[in-house]
């Protein structure tokens, strides 16, 4: 990639960060407020990059995006789609219906009891039907869903092995509800393990619109400015995928922002073991890094309070950012957030003459925003008199609450009692306490910390995988693995990688334990370079 120009954006709930990189160097950086339509914020950041650097847009070889849209939507339960939920598995599986164990508010945000259906169908491990698919029941349920759902999630028992029932169900859904309804099929999302896969599929369906908006925004923004380079989005493992793929699989970007930030943090700080604390305007993500990579969650990954089997770095997202509203009664802080004023900070925050006290305002009041950063065009305070009028006791309490919240998050992620270094990045790093943080040996804010996530998006590789069930009585093991590997490499190529740079990073064989025969599932993960 050396020498080639790459543009990276990190769209947070509050700010959109941009960088222009040449080889390993940050050429210019920019920050704009994330706008309601997302596009304008990206265009603004892009214009700033292009104006400052004076490069020819046609020379840009790659544009990549990291985003916290899906995560923020899920943790704030905002802008989520209403999801029609089908499980194909009755009479089996009914002991644990869909949405079991989900937080009540999330359940209500995306669904309702009339939208959840356990339908007779699904497959046995060997591909036989459990029972024939009850197509009538699906059509009937769809008619009742009309006008009540934005998307549909379909999960069939053993669909990773045989997806027929999911496909058939999707056809009926399209017939009744039309082509505009987005359909998520579970077998395209995750592997064996019904409940976790179903959760993943439902979550995916719930953030379709959020992702569509982000991707369309990026497309519009870059094409308006004459960039023709391919567009990518960072996925959970820190590699990137093409944006067209991401639109259908937003759940793979649920850790997009933090994954980019972790890459950026390690790159910028040179610290390989410690905690990364990425503080945005709306949320903060904490990751534990070991030898330069985020620790991966072992078996299940919890997203928005829901267990999934998506491969993901082990992250803790909390609703704390620069724009987080400090709720208080008199001088006592009753809660931090979870709501953030987000991009309305400049309208609603006390520092800007607004009515609401935010984390940003407490930092202003304490004089912590002494370091002027060129990427911020606005001043940090336009109405100092509003801030000065705040009771000092309240400010101290709010500051202490923020510190305690960060300390608690770091403590949850640490696996040792020993203090470890912490890297604070993201625009919000300026407005939170950095001294005397418990459990931490030192807090680092490396150069370009305020656009760390955007830097991270530009240094990723492309990842892909493939899986297949093989019968080792009929096929030699090495052949079977080679066949699936080939498929994975093709998938990587489809996703945008250069075929000959694609390498295998994981070979996984899942046997059908306790069963006779030599059947197993082979799953191969690969990654490859996007640019020469």
């Amino acid at each position: 990639m050396t020498g080639e120009l790459r543009v990276g954006f990190d769209v947070g709930g509050t700010f959109t960060d941009g960088v222009l990189m040449r080889g390993k160097d940050v050429v210019v950086k920019a920050k704009s407020l994330t706008t309601q339509d997302v596009t304008a914020g990206i265009v603004q950041a892009l214009d700033a990059l292009l104006n400052k650097s004076r490069v020819n847009p046609a020379e840009v070889a790659m544009v990549s995006l990291g985003t916290t849209h899906t995560t923020n939507a899920l943790i704030e339960r905002r802008n989520l789609n209403k999801v029609g939920i089908f499980r194909l598995g009755a009479p089996a599986t009914t002991a644990i219906p869909p949405l079991t164990g989900w937080p009540e508010d999330l359940k209500q945000a995306i669904s309702g009891t009339e939208l959840v259906h356990v339908i007779r169908g699904g497959s046995e491990y060997d591909g036989r039907d459990i029972v024939p698919l009850d197509k009538q029941a699906i059509a009937e349920a769809c008619r009742n869903m009309k006008g009540k759902v934005d998307s549909v999630a379909i999960t069939g028992v053993f669909s990773p092995i045989i997806s027929d029932h999911e496909e058939q169900a999707a056809e009926i859904v399209r017939e009744v509800l039309g082509d505009d309804i987005h359909i998520t099929l579970s077998h395209r999302i995750a592997t064996i393990s019904l409940l976790e896969r179903e959760n993943s599929a439902i979550l995916n369906a719930s953030v379709i619109t959020v992702m569509q908006r982000a991707v369309n925004s990026l497309k519009t923004a870059v094409s308006e400015r004459g960039i023709t380079a391919p567009l990518f989005i960072v996925q959970n493992d820190g590699s990137v995928m093409s944006v067209d793929y991401a639109v259908d699989y937003p759940i793979f970007t649920v850790a997009s922002g933090p994954a980019a930030s972790v890459r950026g943090s390690v790159y910028l700080s040179g610290i390989e073991d410690g905690v990364v604390v990425d503080i945005g305007g709306t949320s903060t993500d904490v990751a534990y890094i070991v030898k330069g990579f985020p620790r991966e969650s072992s078996i299940t990954v919890t997203i928005g309070g829901v267990k999934t089997n998506i491969r993901c770095p082990d992250l803790l997202s909390i609703a704390l950012g620069g724009g987080t509203i400090v709720k208080h009664q008199g001088e006592k802080v009753s809660a931090l957030g979870p709501e953030s004023v987000g991009y309305n900070l400049v309208r609603l925050g006390k520092s800007f003459g607004g009515p609401l006290l935010t984390v940003h305002d407490t930092a202003v009041a304490l004089g912590k925003l002494d370091r002027k950063l060129e990427v911020f065009k606005t001043d940090f305070v336009t109405h100092p008199e509003k801030v000065n009028a705040l009771p000092r006791k309240l400010i101290d309490n709010a500051w202490a609450a923020v510190k305690a919240t960060i300390e608690e998050a770091i403590d949850k992620m640490k696996t040792t009692v020993e203090p470890v270094p912490a890297i604070f990045i993201g625009g919000g790093a300026m407005v939170v306490p950095k001294e005397g943080i418990a459990g931490v040996s030192k807090v680092l804010c490396p150069d370009h910390f305020e656009v760390g996530g955007a830097v991270g998006t530009t240094i990723a590789e492309i990842g892909a995988y493939a899986e297949g069930v093989v019968d080792l009585e009929k096929e030699d093991r090495d052949n079977a693995i080679a066949r699936v590997t080939e498929q994975a490499k093709n998938n990587a190529k489809t996703a945008g990688a250069i075929r000959e740079t694609v390498e295998v990073i994981d070979v996984e064989e899942i046997p059908f334990t306790y069963m006779p025969g030599k059947r197993e599932k082979v799953r191969i993960r690969v990654k490859g370079k996007i640019l020469r």
């Binding site: 002991a95 644990i96 990773p160 899942i510 334990t513």
Partner: protein
């Protein structure tokens, strides 16, 4: 059975038992974690059993656990369990009524009601399932099991080695198919039949088995097996919260509960998983070998473990360190989460911990039925504390 059901509390009152433990969500999550650590690499995915039990609790049903020595001799108990392929279970959770159906049909066959459940083994699925069933039926759970670990086959229990039998066993599936297996005292045949039935059902069966009387429970079970698992799970969960070494806490807990020494013998990462289907295929089990390369102070050493659903034996640089029925656990060094044979992956890092099997599993009959020779090793059983003393 037309008899009107009462609640677990009513039953305990009838038995004049005032001392019992109430199982809430926290308790069942600790018991399940402890059980999956003691499951010796097998025992299946705990998530399903756990969610099922949560659901039973959410429906307002009460789950109560009693000490085995308190129960009357003449009562009728039975075990409920899932028998079949762990991976199939993970993908195909049961329909709501399976345990109930199996128990009811067993009651019919026996001609008397089941008044308590007894977990069959320590495993991520079969431990919590006994609690879920107890909650659904309105009967207590007894603080015992038949292994204090997990084993691949139905007959590998202290119950069988102490002279009681799995028959009659009722095996049901989600479509309400029912099979009654009654092989009298031939427990190996019962296992063979039960496994064939599970395969015909689509890989998973739900069974009501080991109809034991109260007296048999006391004489033949691993007593307080549930408490041992509970304490182990509790110790590991506390260690996570307090950032203590979960493995040290686990070993302390076992010392306290069972007065045994566990051994931390290796730390490494999985570098090869060789799954051998071979001649053992027709038995219906996954066999294989895992190779781990040592890290930290074990650098340069190589560990190899054989497995038949559960880990069987451990060799480090060719030297035997553990033989069945003693327990082997590979635990995530940071969280204490067990790495199971069905989900282990290339690159997984873990610490190997060895735990002496319960004395009721180490009788001459036990060594014959599930010692090294039963699993095809030309080796005499040597206790893990001798091998590592």
């Amino acid at each position: 059975m037309k008899e009107k059901r009462v609640s677990a509390r009513d039953i305990l009152q009838e038995w004049d038992i005032k001392d019992f433990r109430v199982i809430d969500k926290q308790a069942i999550s600790e018991i399940t974690l402890g059980a999956s650590i003691l499951a010796t690499g097998g025992g299946g995915d705990p998530e399903i059993g756990l969610l099922w039990t949560y659901k039973v609790l959410d429906e307002g049903k009460e789950i109560l656990m009693v000490d085995p020595m308190e129960i009357p001799d003449e009562i009728q108990t039975a075990s409920t369990a899932c028998l079949g392929a762990a991976l199939v279970l993970t993908e195909k959770p049961p329909s709501g009524g399976v345990l109930n159906l199996a128990i009811r049909r067993l009651e019919q066959y026996l001609g008397r009601p089941i008044q308590a459940t007894i977990p069959i083994e320590c495993g991520g699925v079969n431990s919590p399932v006994a609690y879920a069933a107890a909650g659904e039926l309105g009967v207590p759970v007894i603080d015992v099991d038949g292994m204090n670990r997990a084993f691949p086959e139905l007959q590998m229990t202290s119950w069988v080695t102490h002279g009681v039998h799995s028959s009659p066993t009722v095996s049901v599936d989600n479509r309400k198919n029912i099979t009654v297996i009654d092989t009298g005292d031939d427990d190996v045949l019962a296992e063979t039949l039960a496994r064939r039935v599970a395969m015909a059902y689509g890989g998973i069966s739900w069974i009501a088995t080991y109809p034991l009387t109260g007296r048999q429970v006391k004489e033949a079970s691993i007593l307080n097996s549930q408490s041992i698992a509970w304490a182990a799970g509790h110790a590991v969960m506390c260690a996570r919260q307090e950032h203590l070494d979960p493995i040290a806490e686990l070993l302390k807990s076992l010392k306290k509960e069972r007065d045994v020494e566990g051994f931390r013998v290796f730390r490494g990462k999985i570098v090869d998983i060789r799954r051998e289907f071979g001649s053992e295929t027709n038995k219906g089990f996954t066999l294989g070998q895992v190779i781990m390369e040592g890290i930290d102070e074990y650098k340069g050493q190589t560990a190899s473990l054989d497995f038949q659903n559960e880990w069987l034996n451990l060799r480090v640089d060719g030297e035997v360190l553990c033989l069945p029925p003693d327990l082997i656990a590979i635990l995530d060094s940071e969280t204490g989460e067990p790495i199971r044979t069905d989900i282990m992956k290339y690159g997984y890092r873990g610490t190997i911990v060895l735990i002496p099997a319960h004395e009721r599993m180490r009788t001459p009959k036990g060594i014959e039925m599930f010692g090294p020779r039963h699993f095809g090793y030309d080796l005499d059983y040597v206790p893990v504390e001798t091998l590592n003393g």
